[in-house]
C-alpha cells in the first residue's frame, strides 16, 4: 500500500465521521450545537490535547512512542510555576520562565533520546521508565501540592481573544503550522518519515539516525512545554498529577489522525481532523447530558471502527 493511498483513506473516513457527527447533532440539538458557546467550549479544550497529541505523534512517526509526555508537561509546568511565582513580573522574568521550561524539556528529551537512540532501549520501556522517574521527581519537589496564583502574564494566555478567537486556539494553530513545516517541508522531517519506514536502511544510506531520533524526542518534550503553559494558564496552577488521563487519549488521537503506530506514515492535517472530531463529539455529548464515561467508550469504539474501515480497500469497494 502506498503512502498516498493511506493518506487518502484517512481523510475520507475522517470527513465522513465528522459529517456524521455534525448531522446527528444538528438534528438532536440544533440550537445548542451551532451556538457560539459550543464552539467556545471546543476551542478551549482542543489546544492542550492537540499539542500533546502532536508531541506523541512525532515520536510515533519514527516508530517510537513517548509515554512520558504528561510527566514532562508537569515537570516543565512545575519549574515554570516556581520561577513565575518567585520573581516579580517583568520582561526578564517572562524570559526566565520560558527558558526554565525549555531547559527542562531539552534535558528530558535528550535523556529519552539518548536511551532510545544510543543505549537502544525500546521506546516504550525508556519513556515508561522516564515517566515513572519524572512523576516521582515531580511529587518529590512539589510535595504533591499545587503551585498556584500566577502573575497576570500567564493567566492572560487563556483569557485573551484576538479577533474573537481565543489565544490558546491560535497557539495551537501556530504549533500545527510549525510542525507541518518541520515534518512535511524540511529535510529533518523527511528523515523522520524515512526512519519510521526503515531505520536500518536510512542508517546505511548515510543519514545520522541517532541524532535525528534524539532531536525528535527533544522536539516532543518542547511541545510539552507549550501544553504546560496552556494548562497553567487555564487552571491557574501547576501540579504533579495534572492531565494523567490525556496520556492514552493522545495515542488514541494520533492513531485516529492516521499516524501509523509502526512509523513512517501520517500527516498533520489528518491529526487536526481527528482532534476536531473527538472534541466535537465530547462537547456535543456533554451538552446532551450524556455521561463522560460514555464519551470515553465512544472514543475507544471510534478508534476501533476507524482502524477497521482503514483496513478495507476502498478501490475494491467502488469497483477498480
Amino acid at each position: 500500500m502506498s503512502a498516498r493511498k493511506v493518506k487518502d483513506n484517512v481523510e475520507i473516513y475522517l470527513s465522513l465521521l465528522i459529517g456524521l457527527v455534525v448531522i446527528t447533532f444538528s438534528f438532536l440539538i440544533p440550537d445548542i450545537f451551532w451556538s457560539s458557546a459550543n464552539f467556545q467550549s471546543i476551542a478551549s479544550q482542543m489546544p492542550v490535547l492537540g499539542v500533546l497529541a502532536l508531541a506523541m505523534a512525532i515520536t510515533m512517526l519514527t516508530g517510537g512512542i513517548n509515554l512520558s509526555i504528561i510527566a514532562t508537561m508537569n515537570a516543565c509546568g512545575l519549574v515554570m510555576a516556581w520561577v513565575a511565582t518567585n520573581y516579580p513580573p517583568s520582561i526578564g522574568s517572562v524570559a526566565l520562565v520560558l527558558l526554565a521550561g525549555l531547559a527542562m524539556a531539552i534535558v528530558i528529551g535528550s535523556v529519552n533520546g539518548f536511551l532510545i537512540a544510543v543505549v537502544r532501549v525500546s521506546p516504550i520501556l525508556a519513556t515508561l521508565g522516564i515517566m515513572t522517574l519524572l512523576n516521582g521527581i515531580n511529587i518529590l519537589i512539589s510535595r504533591g501540592s499545587a503551585i498556584s496564583n500566577f502573575p497576570d502574564y500567564i493567566l492572560a494566555i487563556n483569557s485573551t481573544n484576538l479577533l474573537g478567537i481565543p489565544l490558546p486556539l491560535l497557539v495551537f494553530l501556530a504549533v500545527v503550522a510549525v510542525i507541518w513545516v518541520i515534518l512535511e517541508k524540511s529535510a529533518f522531517g523527511r528523515t523522520i518519515y524515512l526512519i519510521g519506514s526503515n531505520e536500518q536502511a536510512t542508517h546505511y544510506s548515510g543519514i545520522n539516525t541517532r541524532k535525528t531520533i534524539v532531536w525528535v524526542y527533544i522536539l516532543s518534550s518542547i511541545l510539552c512545554v507549550v501544553a504546560a503553559l496552556l494548562m497553567m494558564s487555564k487552571l491557574n496552577s501547576a501540579k504533579a498529577s495534572y492531565g494523567e488521563s490525556y496520556l492514552l487519549v493522545s495515542i488514541l488521537a494520533a492513531v485516529l489522525g492516521g499516524i501509523n503506530p509502526d512509523g513512517g506514515f501520517g500527516k498533520v492535517f489528518g491529526m487536526v481532523m481527528a482532534l476536531i472530531l473527538l472534541q466535537m463529539l465530547e462537547s456535543g455529548l456533554n451538552i446532551l447530558g450524556v455521561s463522560s464515561y460514555i464519551t470515553m467508550t465512544l472514543w475507544g469504539g471510534l478508534l476501533l471502527a476507524f482502524i477497521f474501515l482503514k483496513g478495507i480497500n476502498l478501490s475494491r469497494l467502488f469497483g477498480r
Binding site: 520501556l125 516521582g136 518529590l140 510535595r143 495515542i251 476501533l304 482502524i307 483496513g311
Partner: protein
Amino acid sequence: MVNKLGIKPHELFLGLTILVIGGYLSFASPDFMTFGNIYDLVNNYAMLTILACGLFIVLISGGIDISFPAMTIISQYVMVSLIQGTTGNFAIAFALSGGIGLLLGMVNAVLVNRLKVPSIIITISTLNIFYGLLLYLTKGVWLYSYPEWFEQGVMLFKFTAADGYDYGLSLQIITLIVVIALTGIIMNKTSIGRMIYAMGGNKEAASRMGFGIFKLQLFVYGYMGLMSGVAGVVQSATVLTVAPDSLLGYELTVLAAVVLGGTSIVGGRGTLLGTLLGVILLAVLQNGLNLLGISSYWHTVVTGLVIVISVSMTAWSQRKGQGV
C-alpha cells in the same frame, strides 16, 4: 549465555541485587526479616504477581495488553454482584470472575487478530471501552457487601506464631502458587509454550511452520483475561471492597515489574523466573523504603531509577552485534 545452573546473567544480576538490598534491610530495619513482614509482603503482592504472569506470556508472544486493569475490575464487580447473599465457595467466585476475564481477553484476541494493528493500540481502545462502560453502568458505586464465606477467606495449616498473629496458607498464597506453577508448566513444558516463544521471536516464520496464529493469540490474550479475573478474586479477598476506578494506571506498574525481569517488549525473549525476580525486586524496594521510614515522596523516584537502569543494562548487553 547460560551458565551451568541454567540461570541467565540478567537473572543472576537481579537475584544479587535483591540479596544485597535484602541483606542491607535486615541490618537497617529489625522488622524486615521477620516472618510477619515477609508473609504480608507475599499476600499484598499476590495480585501484582498474578497479573505479571499473564502479561509475561503476552509479551513473550510479541504482543502487549494495557486493558487488564479494566478486565480485573469488571470481573470482580460482576462476580461480587452475583455472589452477594449467596451460599457458596471460592470455586464459584473463581469460575465467575475468571470466566468473565477470559471472555474479555478473547475479545482482545479477536480484535488484535482481525484489525492487524499493534496490540497496544487495540488494548488502549478496549481499555477505554471496558472502563467507560463499567463506570457508566455502575455509576462508580463501590461494593462492600460480601457473603460470609467470602469474608472468612481461606486459611490452610493455620498456626499462631510467637508474635501472636495467625499464619497459614491464605487464599492469596494458594492462588499465587497455583498460578506460578501453571504459567511455568505452560511456558516451559508444553508445546503451546514453545509455539508462543516462536511466535514472539518471528511471527512470519511461526505462521509458515503451520502454527495457528489466531489460536495462539486466543490462548495468550485469553490467559491474560483469565489471570485478570483470578487477580480480581484475590484483590477482593484482600481489601473486601470493589472500587470501580481503583486500578486506573496500574497497567504501567505491572508492565514495569515484568520488563524489570528482563522480558523483551518485542517478544520471544524472557523467563518466568526473571519476571518473578522483577516483582520481588519492586516489592522489596517499596517495602524497604517504608520500613526505613523514607518519605513516600521518594518511592516513585527510586522505582523509576531502578526501571531506567535495569532496562538500560538489558538493552546495552543485547546491543552488541546489532547493525545500527
